[in-house]
């Protein structure tokens, strides 16, 4: 240990477990005692001056580095002499951070203390004080309020500065004390008037940090109060402790015969390591010294290492190191920093994780595969056993179940225990080397019954053991049926709708070994037909059928529920041709149940052999009848939803069209109203004015004529308003659809018109009409309007010829035509004909409000029909309207005439 000190440095080790203190030779010398190394702590503390004993004791027992600052203590040597020693402790910790050893350091500063006491003793005499300062070998400095006033040569030597650099400067600025610490000490000094052996860090000229024990006293300096302080430099000697700690730790760890690798590194360079470390990465210790630690680290763990370097507290981390021969080793590392020569070095311990990890991983993998094997074996439909040395070492629960025994009763028994004597060969089979062929053996259950099973065995090698694994499959019919049921379940799983029904009948036929199977739904209310949703015959899907229900076993199912005819089904249902055609012998059907418990369909199987009604069949059928019921319900619900949706869309579209039409009509309406309602008012206003002057001027005849005009205008207004009201009522009225005989309706209207216009000659022709669907009252309005118009616009004719008849049209509608030989209209204006207040003739020529045809249009459209007209001026007019036929099928022959053009 290269400790550069003027005074001897003594050390000791304290073992917190045993409570013993082991002082070094140097310490023994300082203490003035013999060298019998081990002392109980109390005996050790016996050397310490009673006043300082507690503090020393505390420092030794302290496990926290923060608290173990250096301090000066006094010891009393056996010869009675008093020595002043600087004391400091440093704990040595293991990887877990536990203090395993406390290192103590003591060095004698008695000469410095004596010298300081000498200086103090002459403080009252400035001349002597000055001389004492200058002559002292201890560093002394005079300050006032932290400003340096003077310092001796020793102080300059220690701080490495010139007098000029110091005088007039603040101690803080000079780095002579840490600012916070200085303030605290200054306060203490001002309160108490002195300081005694206070440890202070200070900046050495070489940028290193020194440590001194500082004592201060008040003095008068050049007539003013000031402080004189002594710096007992402990830097070098305290550093020796860090080095000691390091070497001690190093010694302890490197010499440890543990499995841990140890590395001391500084600035990333390996300073030293132990053999174990070298072995782990395939190098020698010498090869690693001076090498970059980073070069050993696998790039994948650089991040973790860096985190650890930055970490405040040491914590274990995992690092992968590159091995010299390639590959990497995974290590658990723990690192901490220690002070060495005032510099931080990193002490890392590493534990090989990969070996342990490999072992753990291998165990885990074995456990996992074992677990998987067991799980597989336990869920497998066949029994599984493992045989070693002729004995069963493992049996699956399924195998035990097959035998009617508990697993524990099976395991450990010789292989032949559970077979019948006739099948004793099984033992030999099990011992054969080649086991390719299955072996059929008879097993005996616990209850004495037997069953046949097929054994398939293989040799396996696992964990250096030679085992045979045998698969035991129950091949009795019951077992086969179960298998088939499983196949059925599997076959119908995950499908729905028609694919489900198809899969169902196919697998059902296979499971029950029948030739025919079908799923069908009942049609009609009450049901009178069935329609197959899917049908299996012999080896393939048959055509879906739709047939009458009466006299069939399917009807019986509808009426009574489950129905089975084990034989002679054709004789039971002689009218069922289908059964006869396929030479059916047996029948088994079960109803499918609807959402309200009603029978909505059935699941049926038919065979050309006798079919007993046994539990096996019944359970399979009932399970799948239930499943099919749900499926059918689901399909029907879906259809219903689809239908409702489609209906909804249709209704929305219809309603939208209606609203659009209503909007358009409203627009045209308000336009027309503004025109037509204003005119009579204007006339009334105008003629009242004229009347006024006519009366004033005594023109009675003219006045009378004007009054008539005014009256007429107001009645025209009233008519307009009535018509408008009628029209708006029509917009709101609900259709009361019935079957309407248009001929009867036409006759009725004509009779009424004839009574109103009896003075004129009209030749009426009324044709035949197919029945139409519609509101009788509204359709009467249509006829009244059209026939009324015909009368009106043909009144200029000598003989009006008016006819109404059905004409050929599309299949789904009845087209009617009202024709006359009247004035007609210009086809140019045909588009205006059915609008509100639209007139093609001057109202003076033909009276009317211009609302009648708008009414016709509205009523026919409301019936889902259409209306149009054709004419030429002076050549009569033909008005057509088409209404939906009452019975669309009945008028099918009309479809041939669909192409006939009825419009010009």
């Amino acid at each position: 240990m290269a400790v550069n000190s003027r005074a001897p440095v003594g050390t000791y080790e304290y073992d917190p477990v045993s409570g013993y203190v082991s002082p070094s030779f140097a310490l023994c010398e300082i203490l003035g005692t013999g060298t019998d190394a081990h002392l109980q702590i109390d005996a050790f503390l016996g050397f310490v001056h009673a006043a300082d004993r507690d503090r020393v004791h505390q420092a030794i027992r302290s496990t926290d580095r923060v608290d173990n600052t250096a301090f000066v203590c006094r010891i009393v040597r056996p010869d009675g002499s008093l020595r002043h020693l600087v004391h400091r402790t440093e704990p040595i910790r293991n990887l877990n951070g536990d203090v395993i050893l406390m290192l103590g350091l003591m060095f004698d500063v008695t000469p410095s203390v004596r010298e300081w006491e000498d200086v103090r003793s002459v403080m009252g005499d400035p001349a002597r004080f000055r001389a004492a300062i200058d002559g002292a070998s201890v560093p002394l400095v005079v300050t006032r309020d932290t400003v340096v006033l003077d310092a001796n040569q020793a102080f300059l030597d220690v701080t490495g500065r010139t007098r000029e650099e110091l005088i007039g400067q603040r101690t803080g600025a000079l780095g002579l004390a840490e600012p916070v610490r200085e303030q605290r000490l200054l306060r203490r000094f001002q309160e108490v008037g002195r300081l005694e052996h206070e440890p202070v860090r200070f900046a050495l000229k070489s940028d290193r940090v020194g440590l001194a024990m500082v004592s201060s006293e008040r003095i008068a300096f050049e007539g003013e109060p000031a402080a004189v302080s002594v710096f007992v430099d402990a830097t070098a000697r305290l550093e020796s402790l860090a080095r000691l700690v390091e070497s001690e730790e190093r010694f302890r760890r490197l010499s440890d015969a543990s499995m841990e690798g140890l590395v001391i590194s500084q600035d990333g360079v390996i300073v030293d390591c132990n053999q174990r470390m070298a072995d782990m990465v395939g190098y020698t210790v010498d090869e690693l010294r001076g090498r970059s630690g980073l070069s050993l680290i696998d790039p994948s763990s650089l991040g973790d290492v860096k985190d650890s370097l930055d970490a405040e507290q040491p914590a274990p981390y995992v690092v992968r190191l590159r091995h010299r021969r390639g590959g990497s080793v995974t290590l658990e590392a723990n690192a901490r920093y220690v002070l060495s020569d005032g510099q931080r070095v990193r002490l890392t311990s590493l534990r090989d994780l990969s070996e342990r990890a490999r072992a753990v991983e291998a165990t885990r993998a074995r456990d996992e595969s074992d677990r998987m094997f067991r799980q597989l074996a336990e869920t497998y439909g066949d029994g599984v056993v493992l045989i070693e040395g002729g004995r069963i070492v493992y049996a699956s629960a399924r195998f035990a179940e097959m035998l009617g025994r508990e697993v524990v009763d099976v395991v450990g028994s010789p292989v032949g225990t559970f077979t019948t004597p006739e099948s004793a060969d099984v033992v030999r089979y099990m011992h054969r080397e080649r086991l390719e062929d299955p072996y059929l053996a008879e097993f005996r259950r616990a209850d004495g019954t037997t069953f046949s099973a097929e054994i398939t065995a293989r040799n396996i090698e696992a964990d250096d053991r030679y085992l045979r694994i045998a698969n035991i499959r129950d091949v009795t019919p019951r077992r086969r049926a179960e298998e088939r049921r499983r196949a059925l379940v599997a076959g119908t799983a995950g499908v729905s709708g028609v694919p489900f029904f198809r899969s169902l009948v196919k697998h059902l036929a296979a499971a029950l070994q029948v030739k025919y199977a079908w799923v069908a739904e009942y049609l009609g209310d009450p049901p009178d037909r069935i329609r197959a949703l899917s049908f299996w015959q012999r080896d393939d899907y048959g055509d879906s059928f739709d047939c009458a229900l009466a006299g069939t076993p399917c009807e019986r199912v509808l009426l009574v529920g489950n129905f089975c005819a084990p034989a002679g089904v054709v004789e039971m249902f002689p009218s069922d041709e289908f059964l006869r055609d396929i030479n059916a012998v047996s029948y088994y059907g079960m109803p499918l149940i609807g959402i309200n418990g009603e029978r909505v369909g059935l699941l049926a199987v038919v065979d050309d052999r006798v079919m007993e009604r046994d539990a096996e069949r019944e359970s399979i059928l009932s399970v799948f009848a239930a499943r099919a019921s749900v499926e059918l319900q689901r399909i029907r619900a879906e259809e219903e939803i689809r239908r409702l949706n489609a209906g909804l869309e249709e209704r929305v579209a219809l309603r939208t069209a209606e609203l659009e039409a209503a909007n358009k009509e409203l627009e045209a309406f308000s336009y027309s109203v503004s025109h037509d309602l204003r005119a009579p008012l204007r006339h009334i206003s105008g003629f009242v004015e004229l009347l006024d002057s006519a009366v004033q001027e005594g023109r009675g005849g003219e006045a009378r004529e004007l009054l008539l005009e005014i009256g007429e205008a107001s009645s025209r207004m009233a008519t307009l308003i009535d018509s408008l009201l009628n029209l708006s009522r029509l917009a709101r009225v609900e259709l009361r659809n019935t079957e309407v005989d248009l001929r009867a309706l036409a006759d009725d209207v004509i009779a009424e018109l004839a009574s109103e216009s009896d003075s004129r000659r009209v030749r009426w022709t009324v044709g035949e009409f197919p029945p139409v669907k519609g509101d009788r009252g509204l359709l009467r309005q249509v006829l009244a309007n059209l026939l009324g118009n015909a009368v009106k616009y043909s009144r200029t004719r000598e003989v009006a010829e008016i006819s109404i008849a059905a004409v050929p049209g599309a299949a789904h509608e009845v087209v009617c035509c009202v024709s006359d030989n009247g004035v007609g209209f210009d086809m140019k204006y045909a588009g205006k004909l059915f609008g509100v207040f639209q007139r093609l003739h001057a109202s003076s020529e033909f009276e009317g409000t211009g609302i009648g045809l708008a009414n016709v249009h509205r009523i026919v459209t409301k019936h889902g029909g259409r209306v149009w007209a054709e004419s030429s001026r002076g050549a009569g007019a033909r008005f057509y309207f088409a209404l939906p036929a009452a019975n669309q099928l009945a008028s099918r022959e009309g479809g041939d005439l669909q192409g006939v053009e009825v419009r010009r």
Partner: protein
């Protein structure tokens, strides 16, 4: 100055009222009345009027069509056409101006307003501001 005014309206009562109003404005002669679009075009084939007072909504050929025919005819292109109608529709107003109407006048319901509207038309297109003395006579003949 001889004026010739063509009145086009399907309603004879409106024709009568317009004629009266014109007489009040001093136009007592040269007024031709027709009751429809076709008749209007027929009349226009004869002498060219000083102004046409044209109703819009008429059975058969409507006023807008008449206007279009007038504006398409080289001889009639410059004839002032005043649309006189019950309609207040923006669409009608736009259409009429777009097809070259000189004015769009909504027929007032009150007769006094009707009179002043016709008077304005007479002043503007026929240069008459005062009814001549004979106006009353014309009035009384109605």
């Amino acid at each position: 100055m001889i004026h010739r005014v063509l009145l086009v309206d399907d309603d004879p009562r409106d024709l009568r009222l317009t004629e009266l109003a014109l007489a009040q404005a001093g136009i007592t002669s040269g007024v031709v009345k027709v009751q429809g679009g076709v008749e209007a075009l027929e009349s226009l084939r004869g002498e060219t009027p000083s102004v046409v007072l044209l109703d819009l909504k008429m059975p058969g050929m409507d006023g807008l069509q008449v206007l279009r025919e007038i504006r398409a005819d080289d001889r009639l292109r410059a004839v002032p056409v005043v649309v006189l109608t019950s309609s207040r529709e923006d669409r009608d107003i736009d259409d009429c101006y777009a097809h070259g109407a000189n004015a769009f006048v909504v027929k007032p319901v009150k007769f006094q307003e009707y009179l002043s509207a016709i008077k304005d038309i007479a002043v503007f297109w026929l240069g008459r501001s005062e009814a001549p003395l004979g106006a009353r006579t014309g009035w009384s003949r109605m």
